[in-house]
Amino acid sequence: MLSRDYWRERGGAMAERHADQELVRRAQQGDRRAFDLLVIKYQQRVTGLIARYVRDPHEVLDVAQEAFIKAYRALPSFRGESAFYTWLYRIAVNTVRNHLATQGRRPPGEDIEADLAEQLDLGRRLREHATPERHLLSEEIAMTVQHTLDDLPDELRTALVLREIEGMSYEEIATAMNCPIGTVRSRIFRAREAIDKRLKALLED
């Protein structure tokens, strides 16, 4: 399994920030469709973050939903000085802190910085509290993606890895692979399509 830290060290977080910029801009202008795509993109991370503090899976979803609603309301105040996820992370931590405080439970003691949180294994907490079925499906998703990636032709696999793990832009990948940007677009899309075909079958089962 490829290391997430490695992804971060190679500038993946910066690439993600750039990737979110257009959706965030549109969401700030009132486009709920753009915000919906941001929620889909970050629902796993926010849920994983809240699951570190709240044990009950239903409660986790309630708090995560509240965090996203708060983020939506606060969108006009987001000035783009940090990555969207860093900003969202702080809202989620404050939401879970308030939630625990109102219930008389001990809120998180310190405000873990988002950068530090990125390095934590968010999956660990999920594995601790997931039902056996969920745990199994989670493992199957990871294995399906990895095995399909391994089966891909070299040029497709390399393009997708450079993008998703190294966090390189299409232009940088084109330079690294010595091919036109259009070819990079096509290779990354074809790699995703190949993995998606198997992933879709798994999720629909």
Partner: protein
């Protein structure tokens, strides 16, 4: 769900989709739920590749948020979303300060020069305190009415709601103009 739309989703996932194509794609996503599902799977692929934990139970969250947001009022639009870079802002502040200092200097230097000039003419402060023969508020056939009109004007200015300078300030202005009459 066309292949073209899916390719655009892939590019949007990477922040590489042309700005003018985003709107059309978002409309297509609303019209076709399968495109939304495709976006989610593309996201999951990236997370799985990076070894991030995936909770299948969290996949319903977006739908819950979508439903909850229907009750929310639309957020206020902002014309400028991203601020100027820090360096540009610092430059602006420096320029604004320099312009303010220059403006003050342009106004203050002639006053100081006039004040410090030896004795060719009386000091400026004295000049200012002398009544100006040309200063005459009322052109009246009956000059004795001038003081009544002044009192009326002072009262009116002090009570008038149209000026933010209420109370004392208008009175000062009028009285200062009245000196020497």
């Amino acid at each position: 769900m066309s292949e073209e739309h899916r390719q655009r989703l892939s590019e949007l996932q990477d922040g590489e989709l042309a700005e003018d194509q985003v709107k059309d794609l978002l409309e297509a996503v609303v019209a076709d739920p399968e495109l939304r599902a495709c976006w989610e799977r593309y996201t999951l692929i990236g997370q799985a590749l990076r070894g991030e934990g995936i909770d299948p139970g969290a996949r319903i969250l977006a739908k819950r948020v979508r439903v909850a947001l229907r009750a929310e009022p639309p957020i206020l639009k902002r014309s400028r979303i991203y601020p100027l870079p820090h360096r540009a802002r610092s430059r602006l502040v420096v320029w604004a300060l320099a312009a303010s200092v220059a403006l003050v200097a342009m106004g203050a230097v002639p006053l100081l020069q006039a004040y410090l000039r030896p004795t060719a003419s009386p000091p400026l402060a004295i000049q200012l305190s002398r009544p100006s023969p040309a200063l005459q508020r009322w052109q009246l056939e009956r000059p004795e009415l001038a003081s009544k009109l002044d009192r009326y004007l002072v009262t009116h200015q002090a009570m008038a709601p149209a000026t933010p300078a209420q109370g004392f300030l208008p009175y000062v202005v009028l009285v200062s103009e009245t000196v020497g009459r």
